[in-house]
């Protein structure tokens, strides 16, 4: 296919063969700096760093020294422009390189950048072209160093980066938890040859071995044997072939198994052994399959020998031989299982193709200290892992071969594990893996699609003053619907599919179209309303006996949690019946015994000595936080327990954000001497959790929060709400006492858990070690 050739160099001169609008591919190019490029045998990966300007909703307290009137809102909401850092990675076929360079040249406004970091085998081939087109000096970086740097980066920053491939399982991909310590590991890069690298620390790695029998052998020898030129076509052939027609199996020699050695009859005794003794024609498919097995087994065997010698159990595979090809991932996995008898698992990476570009970029960006930040995959701007079955979604597959994108947002803070996790390595935030649970997946995808209209409406309503909001909201709808459709076909696209990832993807898409906080005004109104009842609630509680008081406080916490715009059933009620109040909510609650009911144990515990410090992950604004959480922690404070309220750093649904909570707390303190004193004496602390999700990943929390928790000797963790205590963390094991509280506001989920809508979960857990001590 001809490239743009002599066509005009306008901004619309992109070759027609590029099917996506280029401005959707090379995004934010105007602010781009620090380019890096990794040119492989067939694909080019371009990386750049840009700043993204987007709107954020800010809240600010009014000056209360001025006279207050009843109609005034509690605080002021303003929309501000904020600039954040984002990493862009784009992958395309080498054939498009010239077209892409032209496009970049035309759109690159920033002239500060002088150098482009380059790596990969093709870097020298295109050096002159790049220098001529972009007027940037090409600075070559060592391929393996880039690869390792990139690998460290994705392993640290992208949850569910690594996966195990199981061809015949319900879900082909089994994603791995982010390990707090990624080292040591072994990376086996299968390019034209094979390199085996041991990585012990960020900058400590060593090539411990290799083999000349690699992807080039498959390709070269395969092309000779089958007269098939392209690598992909060879894999296609192989996937259709029968290796047993070409290979000599154990049963061809023994007539059956070689029992005394435990070698089964189907085992390959001699690759291509039949073609030496049989005088017949072999089919291309069969030879390609035999070759694939030969090479995969050989690499697997060497990998195992090296893993054993160096005592390594985490083995990642990459290189063009692997690159998401189900055929090779399967044969390599098979080989590793065979040779290690299951002791070592073959691991693959979602962003394997980007490692070199990421590494080259990081080399060039060292002065920005990219490793000091935490990064987050932006689901809105990333293509995700493509379909493995070409017949399943051919269009998607074809497009993915053309352009593929990964975007990563720099987070303003470093994220770390909750120090109170019993075992950080086995912690899985999500309760249900929708990648594996097809029924649940169907339901939730449907649910999110159903809710989409409402979200669009709300987004528009939140920006009534901006007429173009309608258009943006429509774009949001298209983008998110497209994501949902993609996930229907490829639930593994962004790692394990979970309710959390569906919610987060929606938040990312909303942000993408400048709807930073569609609930800001609703939250403001609810907070305002709830504050008016605060003293009344506190007073009525104070009049009760101790036992009654504890029960009322617990019930209040649960009732407050019924108010949740995130759950469809509730948002229906709230929108149709604004009078639905706190008392009514209490009546809606399930009578005891609750669906999960550890209330008696909790009360027994309360009769004992006070906790030293309670960490409370709060949920919604309004009634929940003000009339549910505050009276509850007030009691804890009176008992002599310090309280840390952890709230979201950024907005998500109607969840209370840290900045909102600061204002609310001030206002409550002004009314309530108990809260006032606690704040003054630092027995009540408000700390952000580092997240902007309606769910909670305890392995990615703000470092400051972790420090506070440790310093205060936290011995009780309270997690509230469906998002944080049911969809995530329901099974999380903590090293201290914990309360997980939620009202199930979704009838499907309630049914699944064996209850009805508005069932109550009151889970109180004491770690077994502590139990022994009692």
């Amino acid at each position: 296919m001809a490239l743009c050739g002599g066509a005009d160099r306008g901004s619309h001169s992109m070759d027609k063969s590029i099917t996506l609008p280029p401005d959707e591919i090379f995004r934010n190019l105007e602010n781009a700096k620090r380019f890096a490029i990794d040119i492989g045998g067939s694909l080019t990966k371009l990386a750049y760093y840009s700043t993204v300007q987007h709107q954020v909703a800010k809240v600010r307290s009014f000056d209360h020294s001025a006279k207050e009137t009843d109609g005034d809102p509690l605080y002021e909401i303003s929309v501000q422009e904020e600039i954040t850092a984002r990493l862009h990675f784009i992958k395309f076929e080498n054939a498009y390189i010239e077209t892409c360079l032209d496009f970049i040249k035309d759109h690159l406004v920033n002239t500060e950048t002088k150098v482009i970091k380059a790596t990969g085998g093709g870097a020298h081939k295109f050096k002159d072209l790049i220098e001529k087109k972009l007027k940037l000096k090409v600075d070559k970086e060592d391929e393996m160093t880039c690869l390792i740097k990139g690998c460290n980066f994705v392993l640290k920053n992208i949850p569910h980066e690594a996966f195990v491939y199981a061809k015949h399982a319900d879900s082909e991909f089994r994603f791995q938890n982010t390990h707090p310590d990624i080292f040591p590991y072994m990376l086996i890069n299968i390019g034209s040859g094979v390199s085996i690298v041991k990585v012990e620390a960020e900058d400590k790695f060593e090539r411990i071995g290799g083999s000349s029998i690699g992807g080039g052998t498959f390709w070269g020898l395969g092309a000779l044997l089958t007269k098939t030129k392209r690598f992909d076509e060879l894999l296609q052939l192989a996937s259709k072939g029968q290796h047993t027609n070409v290979d000599m199996l154990v049963k061809d020699i023994y007539g059956g198994a070689y029992g005394s050695l435990g070698l089964t009859g189907d085992l390959i005794a001699s690759s291509f052994g039949k073609s030496a003794t049989t005088d017949k024609e072999f089919s291309k498919e069969d030879m390609a399959k035999s070759l694939l097995h030969m090479i995969s087994n050989d690499i697997g065997q060497l990998a195992c020998l090296y893993a054993k010698l160096h005592n390594l159990t985490r083995v990642y595979f990459g290189g063009f031989f692997i690159r998401g090809h189900p055929v090779t991932m399967h044969t390599i996995t098979y080989s590793i299982n065979f040779f290690t008898k299951g002791e070592v698992q073959a691991l693959f990476l979602r962003h394997e193709g980007y490692l070199g570009a990421i590494g080259a970029f990081l080399k060039g960006a060292e002065e920005d200290n990219p490793n000091q930040y935490s990064w987050e995959e932006n689901y809105a701007g990333s293509s995700g892992l493509m379909s493995v079955s070409p017949e399943l979604n051919p269009v998607q597959r074809a497009r993915s071969g053309t352009f593929d994108m990964l975007e990563m947002d720099r987070l303003e803070r470093q994220l770390v594990n909750l120090p109170l996790l019993q075992d950080a390595t086995s912690y899985i935030p999500d309760t249900v893996d929708l990648t594996e649970d097809a029924l649940a997946r169907e339901y939730w995808l449907y649910c999110f699609e159903e809710a989409l209209d409402g979200v669009v409406k709300r987004a528009i309503a939140s920006q009534k003053d901006q007429p173009e909001a309608v258009e943006r909201a429509e774009k949001f709808r298209q983008k998110y619907r497209h994501k949902l459709q993609t996930l229907r076909h490829q639930p593994f696209a962004y790692g394990s599919l979970t309710v959390r990832s569906l919610l987060d993807t929606r938040e990312h898409c909303l942000n993408e179209f400048n709807f930073p906080d569609p609930y800001s005004k609703i939250k403001q109104k609810e907070n305002d309303m709830a504050l008016k009842y605060y003293l009344k609630v506190v007073k009525s509680v104070e009049e009760l006996s101790w036992e009654q008081r504890q029960f009322t406080l617990a019930k209040g916490l649960l009732a407050g949690n019924v108010f949740d715009w995130g759950a469809k059933a509730v948002s229906d009620v709230l929108e149709s019946d604004p009078e639905f109040g706190f008392e009514q909510a209490k009546q809606q609650l399930q009578e005891r015994p609750w669906l999960v009911d550890a209330y008696n144990q909790w009360i027994e515990r309360l009769k004992g000595p006070p906790h030293k410090c309670a960490l409370f992950f709060v949920d919604n604004s309004g009634i929940d936080i003000i009339l549910g959480v505050f009276p509850f922690i007030r009691e804890l404070l009176i008992r002599g327990t310090e309280v840390v309220l952890a709230s979201n750093s950024g907005p998500a649904l109607n969840d209370v954000t840290n900045s909102e909570l600061q204002i609310l707390t001030e206002r409550i303190a002004a009314m309530d001497p108990v809260i006032h004193a606690a704040l003054r004496e630092d027995r009540l602390a408000l700390v952000q959790n580092g997240s902007s999700s309606p769910c909670l990943d305890l392995s990615r929390l703000d470092k400051v929060l972790a420090t506070v928790i440790r310093e205060r000797g936290t011995d009780l963790v309270i997690i509230e709400g469906m998002g944080r205590a049911i969809h995530t963390n329901y099974y999380a094991m903590l090293s201290c006492e914990s309360l997980k509280l939620a009202v199930i506001k979704n009838s499907w989920l309630a049914e699944r858990l064996g209850g009805k809508i508005f069932s109550v979960v009151f889970k109180y857990e004491v770690p077994s070690k502590a139990q022994e001590q009692h």
Binding site: G214, G216, T217, G220, M248, I253, L261, S275, A276
Partner: protein, 373 residues
């Protein structure tokens, strides 16, 4: 090695190893036959002896390796010559038919057989030729046969050899040597496929691993790539070829050494890597392809063997199997690879009777089994 045998089994004495590609047969020709014995010797026994000892080729594909014959061997009180014969496993049925035609079953001998074929063809021997096989484990036979031949030597010379100066192609010389301290050794048997054993004592060994990339792969790929038909033809072509026209070397990618990782420019980075290019595929010679196939398979075996030796902490690596027959390209390459990659820590050893140890081991069992009887 001393063999215990109180009673002699009846002649003929055979040991057979039926592999994936080749059948290896050892035959003991008694040279101390008395006149009395000669008289008593039944006709078909005599004809077998004459047929085997007076020919060096049998049918179209059977060959006697005359140069390997062990002369004046005394076993179980009998003195004679041990003959080494091979033919393709594909001719197995013709061989069984011959056994039927010659009424082999009337000779009251036990046919000791090892290798996979002992199992695969057991029923054919029974139904076609009325012969019962004594089936023996191939690894047991391999080790016993190897130890025996090493102990009797090769007509007064050592059975074992190695290469002096393996890293210097000009001065690389084959040197005989004696295996004084045999154990532990890593035994790499390269037949159609590869088996790697760690041998600690006469009766103490384990199979460490195996590989499907062996002699069968070399020949199979050569047949497909060059249209050749025999191992000899394939090796002949390989000896004339240049693998660097086929393989991509480190210097082809990096312009020289890859210093960051201490890789020499002359090291192979990707076997058959040049063949990714259409132009190069069209201009390549069969000889180069044969050579590249041989080098690829050999280096791979060397690499796996070396890793096993390191993992098992064994310094002596003994290579056997018919892949090494008339194959100095591979033996020298293995010697070089062991020496270079281990920085002189490992030594590759070879044995003159390469592929026959299994058959010898089966033959020894014949003598032992009659002892039990």
């Amino acid at each position: 090695m001393k063999l215990k045998c109180s009673s002699k089994p009846a002649f003929p004495w055979f040991g057979m190893d039926i592999g994936g590609s080749l059948v290896k047969l050892v035959y003991f020709e008694p040279k101390d036959i008395t006149a009395e014995e000669e008289q008593e010797e039944v006709e078909n026994l005599k004809s077998i002896r004459r047929y085997l000892t007076s020919n060096t080729a049998y049918g179209k594909t059977g060959v006697r390796d005359v140069h390997l014959e062990l002369r004046n061997l005394t076993i179980c009180g009998r003195t004679g010559n041990l003959h080494f014969i091979r033919f393709p496993t594909a001719a197995m049925h013709r061989f069984i038919q011959m056994g039927r035609d010659k009424h082999f079953s009337s000779l009251h001998t036990t046919l000791c057989a090892t290798g996979g074929g002992a199992y695969k063809f057991e029923n054919d021997f029974r139904t076609m030729a009325d012969l019962e096989l004594l089936k023996l484990d191939e690894l047991d036979c391999l080790i016993q046969g190897l130890l025996y031949i090493d102990s009797v030597g090769f007509n007064g010379h050592p059975e074992c050899y190695y290469f002096e100066n393996p890293s210097d192609t000009q001065n690389c010389i084959k040197r005989p040597c004696c295996l004084d301290n045999l154990f532990p050794m890593l035994l790499v048997n390269i037949g159609s496929g590869v088996s790697i054993l760690a041998v600690y004592a006469k009766d103490d060994y384990k199979r460490v691993t195996g590989s499907s990339l062996g002699g069968g792969t070399f020949l199979g790929l050569c047949c497909l790539l060059t249209g050749c038909e025999t191992f000899e033809e394939a090796l002949e072509m390989a000896s004339k070829g240049d693998s660097t026209n086929v393989d991509k070397l480190v210097k082809d990618i990096y312009g020289g050494d890859y210093q960051r990782f201490g890789l020499q420019g002359s090291a192979v980075a990707s076997s058959f890597g040049h063949m990714m290019s259409k132009e190069k595929r069209e201009s390549i010679s069969k000889e180069d392809l044969a050579r590249a196939t041989l080098v690829t398979i050999t280096n791979n075996i060397g690499s796996i063997a070396r890793m096993c030796a390191v993992n098992e902490k064994i310094e002596r690596v003994v290579f056997v199997g018919n892949f090494l027959r008339i194959n100095t390209v591979s033996t020298k390459l293995l010697a070089y690879a062991m020496d270079f990659w281990s920085k002189g820590q490992l030594r590759a050893l070879f044995l003159e009777h390469e592929g026959y140890f299994g058959a010898v081991g089966a033959f020894l069992e014949l003598l032992k089994s009659s002892d039990d009887a």
